[in-house]
Symmetry: C2
Subunit: 197 residues, 2 copies
């Protein structure tokens, strides 16, 4: 006996990752009780984002401008490209705040199971960018998963012909990590990649 | 370096109950990748709901019509009113699907700590409805919390002058509940309210 409009809103919200029917209902009630403070601004922000968001033709980032703010930022080092799987990974690196180069979003990883081949990823764009004059380094920052590492390996081969240094993210003990709780693979990698103190 | 529109959308979503900054980011990326399938319908549903939702002047329910669909439904028993704390409780009872009377949403509970007095709740409306000719029963379905029970007790006194039967929800063993895992209070209540088999 909930109104159809409200029911439909709950159903749509429940589809979002991290939300289920129960939390969607709670969110909708929360919004409806705070119409001016929460619901109206959210409607506006969502409509604006839906209208304006575009994929950067250069790096594949999502932004309200094309080229995206990172590609258009003259203060960022144009000689380094960091290759990531998804926009979420780009955001994670931006939150870390130490990387000052450009990005390239693949839009996924190579995966036989999911049927993702090289032609499904934004690899042609990366090869084209890697061939540009002035580029010095391509950092492969795909995940430390089997698919992520396979993708990095494939990209290393594809980039072999370009005049750039290809690097990978270091693997090792995460900051704040206790050795006792680390998996064997990480410990082995950290040991193998040990460096002078 | 996330666009300000996207950042703002994430901040607004992160305010919803059950969502934090991380899940809000995930939700936004999920939506942005599925613009036609998810984002556009959500914008529409949210805008429609924000525009149309009103509080039913009769029972305090939220709906897109006033009086709400439940109050306007002639098939529902007008001789019984079920008093609940919040619209969420009304929805929960509707999901259970066995109650066929009307509702009255208080909009909270009496609480000395939160500074909620009788004048902060929709009690005047309830007393007025309880005085109407033809009403037979008022079910107090506030929560089994201290505040909920205090509110029920207060309402019982306020309704004493009206010509209606005032009832409370039964307390006892929840369906599917194992005795071993129940708290002492529930067990005592279930024992006290035992009935012929």
């Amino acid at each position: 006996m909930i109104g159809t409009e409200i029911e439909r809103l709950i159903q749509l919200l429940a589809k979002l990752p991290g939300l289920g029917p129960r939390s969607a209902r709670r969110a909708v009630l929360y919004m409806m009780k705070r119409r001016e403070a929460v619901m109206t601004p959210l409607v506006k922000a969502l409509a604006e984002a839906a209208e304006k968001i575009v994929t950067c033709h250069n790096c594949g980032n999502l932004d309200t401008v094309d080229p995206c703010a990172i590609c258009a930022d003259g203060r960022r080092d144009p000689t380094i490209i960091c290759v990531v799987e998804e926009v979420a990974d780009l955001w994670a690196l931006e939150r870390a705040g130490t990387y000052k180069g450009r990005y390239h979003v693949l839009g996924g990883v190579l995966s036989a199971i999911d049927g993702m081949g090289p032609e499904d990823l934004n690899i042609a764009g990366l090869i084209a960018r890697a061939g540009e004059v002035g580029l010095g380094e391509v950092i492969l920052a795909t995940g430390a998963t089997v698919d992520g590492q396979t993708t990095a390996h494939y990209l290393t081969e594809r980039l072999a012909g370009c005049d750039v240094t290809v690097t990978r993210l270091a693997q090792g003990v995460p900051v704040g990590g206790e050795l006792d709780y680390l998996d064997d693979g990480t410990l082995s990698a950290a040991l193998k990649a040990r460096r002078p103190a």
